[in-house]
Symmetry: C2
Subunit: 466 residues, 2 copies
């Protein structure tokens, strides 16, 4: 079995060459390895946690805020006078804080509102059903209660599948089922039903108000602001990706190491996050530069138009990384127009990002869009100039050699990469124009301010693209 060939040595792990130790020692070694392994896992976990903490300290602050809110609410337990007021039900305030305290203010308000209103609604219906059941006699009472719980729970659970309910009231429906079962089932035993209900409502009020105030007053994280930032950062990412892709394509081979253009991947996957944030943002009061009825839904449309553009950039990036290469001559010929077109598109995107970031309608946007359209036109005219050298489709009469010393010939396959690049770039400009429309709608709906100083045309710049 044992061979001395060098190939053999390569394939076998080192410790098989060691003489096997006795069983207890082997177990000891295994145990040590296991412990070492789990220690390393824990270390890796801690490193990951530290990285998250350093990259976004607000997440640490959120943890501290939850701790603060909890110790605030637990004061109801420790302080004699407060405890006497609320009694053992203070537990429900603690539960409310733990359950309803979310990362963003919007989510906290949504959960608090859901919890409070669902508890109140379910409590009232529960008491009503209980009263009806009580009137029907001792025999029928459990039957009616049981049937009402079953039917209402089934209907409410089903309603969670309806998108409009799921988006805004998912948690509320759950609390409704919970409270209704609670009241109608426990009502059978607990006689002081109304007092229980009153206590529950007051403790939940304490819990939700602690939640909302803590989340709003100490380093608040507004879902709306997060969404706003995400949108303009994604616009910047798209602009960088587009620039990066085209620059990389026209670079010399050795230099292709820059991965800056991967930002579009982030845009591709931001749909779920955007929708969640928009849902939460609708619950938030006016904050910073955002009014109460800020058009958050329009942000989703901007997001969708950006994703559509990102799909195209993804294809462009895949195409740039593929092996098909245009001949150097053609590449040189096309470099300038391609770069001009892509930088015109990315200028529009950057301007949109600035518009969104500063919330001021920019007079430059229209200019940049025009410049982009000029670039498309001059791009097309370069190709039309090329097209004077027509392509001959002689089907079967491919006779007469036309190549001579004076003319440089390019096979038709060679222009494919450039043609694809051109079509993709033009498609991207169309999708960028969609983004412009959506951002302008957003600016109109959100009543962005108009820029004070009007933008002066740089004459030289205009002359370049007549």
């Amino acid at each position: 079995m044992v061979s001395n060939g060098p190939e053999w040595k390569v394939n076998v792990p080192e410790d098989t060459l060691v003489i096997e130790p006795a069983l207890p020692k082997r177990m000891c070694i295994q145990l040590q390895e296991q412990i070492l392994k789990s220690l390393m896992n824990i270390a890796a976990f801690l490193v990951k946690a530290r990285n998250i903490a350093t990259s976004d300290p607000r997440k640490v602050i959120h943890g501290v805020k939850v701790g603060m809110a909890l110790s605030l609410v637990s004061l109801f337990y420790y302080m004699k006078p407060l405890y006497d007021g609320v009694g053992g039900n203070a537990m429900w305030a603690v539960i409310t804080v733990v359950v309803a305290f979310e990362y963003s203010v919007g989510a906290t308000i949504a959960k608090s509102f859901n919890r409070a209103s669902a508890t109140f609604l379910a409590g009232s219906i529960g008491v009503g059903v209980h009263w009806v059941a009580n009137q029907c006699g001792e025999q029928l009472e459990p039957v009616i209660l049981q049937a009402s719980v079953t039917i209402l729970a089934a209907a409410a659970t089903f309603s969670r599948f309806i998108p409009s309910v799921k988006a805004r009231f998912d948690y509320g429906v759950m609390i409704f089922i919970l409270t209704f079962s609670f009241v109608s089932v426990s009502g059978y035993r607990v006689d002081k039903l109304l007092e229980l209900a009153r206590n529950r409502v007051s403790t939940i009020a304490i819990g939700t108000s602690i939640c909302i105030f803590t989340s709003m007053l100490f380093y608040p994280v507004w879902a709306g602001k997060e969404l706003h930032n995400l949108i303009y950062k994604n616009l910047e990412r798209l602009a960088d990706s587009l620039d990066g892709c085209v620059t990389e394509y026209f670079k010399d081979n050795e230099e292709r190491v820059n991965r800056k253009h991967e930002g579009y991947k982030f845009v591709l996957n931001s749909k779920a996050g955007e929708e969640a944030m928009a849902n939460m943002a609708r619950w938030e009061p006016a904050h910073g530069r955002f009014k109460f009825r800020h058009p958050w839904k329009q942000y989703l449309k901007v997001g969708a138009s950006m994703r559509s553009c990102a799909y195209c950039i993804e294809t462009l990036s895949g195409f740039i990384n593929s092996e098909v290469e245009a001949p150097e001559l053609l590449k040189k010929h096309m470099k300038e127009v391609c770069m001009t077109l892509s930088s015109a598109s990315s200028n529009v995107l950057k301007e949109l990002a600035a518009t969104t970031k500063t919330m001021t309608k920019s007079t430059k946007t229209r200019f940049f869009v025009q410049e982009m359209n000029f670039a498309v036109q001059s791009f097309k005219s370069v190709f039309e100039a090329l097209s004077k050298q027509t392509l001959l489709l002689t089907e079967h009469e491919a006779g007469e050699e036309k190549t001579s010393k004076e003319t440089q010939t390019v096979p038709i396959m060679a222009i494919f990469p450039i043609a694809t690049l051109a079509t993709l770039l033009i498609e991207i400009t169309e999708r960028v124009e969609n983004i412009v429309v959506e951002v302008e709608n957003m600016a109109a709906q959100a009543e962005f301010e108009v820029e004070n100083k009007p933008f002066k045309y740089d004459q030289d710049q205009v002359i370049i693209h007549p």
Copy 2:
């Protein structure tokens, strides 16, 4: 103000022409309108709910299951002997059922496990902390308890931001904080702490077992099976979209009404759903044809490779719907090779879908991939045949008219659309090959069965692509 021009009539709603009635009557009309409006909203909501119910009756069944589980657990309240056993704590069993009963079996097990283990862990730590605090004297006790709640809650809340914790234990961490606060805070008053803990554990055990059994025994919805179905249906969607796009491109203009090729949009947005299902599927026991350690993570890789292909199809679809049109002559020339290539790719996708659906390794896949590669080669050779008619890049010497009566000329811009189509189709075949690799990995990891009857080559079919 009032003009009789017809333009004016168009812009004003009809009822402004009616003479205004007295105030009470107006209010009455407004009220009627409001009621009518809300009735119509309710009707629309009900129609939507009915549509959801008819399109997926399992959602209704889920509602019924929750109702059943709740009435089962509330029996603990109504039946004297059971009630005496568990006491007023039966409420916790009800809460557990409401909170932990999810749509899929995996999610229910995950929540039940999270709830049970987090309660147990937090309970033990809470009792420990309580004992330590008790030893430190009456003065220090509340301080220690308060500090431990604050610190542990802050740390645990922060840990929810770590992706690996969030994916599997998000709910557990919340329950941990809840139970720990509960035990350490209420422990200050309630002396029978251990009895409380024992009661809590037993009621949660009752609740979770009712949840798990109801969800597993009556019309179970397995997250794993859902994910499996989603993956093969998405493969079919991609195949249909690809076929649809290319067919539509080569159709006559009038016929372009078929929207069958929009299935790829579903694939674009399936990331979040796939990840959630894979996370739940890991909790599920063996069911149907799926073993306990089925490689659910590999399904995510298949999903990612499919999305990469879908991005390309999205670009293709955008390009097909754009106004740029290739000349009819070229289109006719290219129709056959393009259709062959796209149908070869979609055959591969369909075969992969069949492989996944039936969970049997298909001997045909390799054959179809080969056929696709043949199609790429013959596709390229058609273009190379075209390239014998070389394109002249005469830079400045664009003299001598080469167009003569015998040859049909095509301007270079005209081949752009075809060139783009070709590049995109070839890019799509490359991405399809990625999907093949990922599906084969999946088949190997999940130990798909090997097909019994070996696939017989259809000689005629092979001869077409030598």
